[in-house]
């Protein structure tokens, strides 16, 4: 039987404005990936369809690829184009 888990998704800056919120907690079936979480977010969260399909992302405070695997309790962040300095 597939394992269930929870991931916390953080949205920042313009992405938070688009989605109308800065975080969401998703129940997921493991194994899963960053790409799958973004797909679900865009489908299930009102307004989130306008988020890009392939944004820059981070998992647990480090930049991550879309095919990175996720584990129960991971923190996934969707990062708009970086603009520090």
């Amino acid at each position: 039987m597939p394992a269930q888990g929870t991931v916390r998704v953080l949205l920042f800056a313009r992405y938070a404005e688009i989605a109308g919120r800065d975080h969401v907690t998703l129940s997921v079936t493991l194994p899963t990936t960053v790409r799958e979480v973004i797909r679900r977010l865009r489908e299930e969260l009102p307004g989130a369809r306008a988020l890009p399909e392939h944004p820059l992302t981070a998992v647990n405070l480090k930049q991550a690829k879309l095919d990175s695997p996720l584990h129960d309790g991971d923190e996934v962040a969707l990062l708009p184009p970086l603009a520090g300095g």
């Binding site: 313009r14 405070l61 480090k62 184009p81």
Partner: protein
């Protein structure tokens, strides 16, 4: 000290942090909020960040600097919140035994900040509009007025 601050940046404090008898060259880089003639009347920029990731990533960046320039010292601060035109959003201070390394470290650090740190800026303009800015300095999308 944390890399991020919501207060004006004290250059004197940063200079004191890197000062060392063995360092004969010190470079200071300041990034300031700009209102150029083609930028639609910028009054201020509001900076926000994924703060916990920024602090983790800056530690990794400074570890890279330590490894590459073991005899140098570097410190930097980035300001968050609303910063008016002319004030510094970032300050980098690098001290090394010789000037070439101090210049190079400053350049290395500002490029790393721009490429690796999750920080965002939203311009406030004289007409009351706000605009997210992308890394190349172009407007990304109009925000709510």
């Amino acid at each position: 000290m944390p890399f991020l601050t919501r207060n004006p940046i004290s250059i004197d404090l940063l200079l004191r942090e890197v000062a060392a008898p063995e360092c004969g060259g010190t470079c200071v880089f300041l990034g300031t909020v700009r209102a150029g003639p083609d930028e639609g009347g910028v009054m201020a920029i509001e900076y926000s960040a994924y703060e916990s990731m920024v602090e983790a990533e800056i530690e990794r960046i400074l570890a890279d600097v330590c490894e590459r320039w073991p005899h140098a010292r570097a410190v930097l601060r980035h300001r968050l919140g609303t910063i008016p035109v002319g004030e510094a959003s970032i300050a980098i201070v690098a001290a090394a035994p010789h000037r070439a390394d101090a210049f190079e470290i400053c350049r290395y650090l500002i490029e790393a900040v721009k490429q690796r740190l999750p920080i965002w800026k939203k311009e406030s303009r004289v007409d009351g509009s706000t605009i997210w800015v992308d890394p190349a300095g172009r407007a990304a999308a109009a925000g709510p007025r």
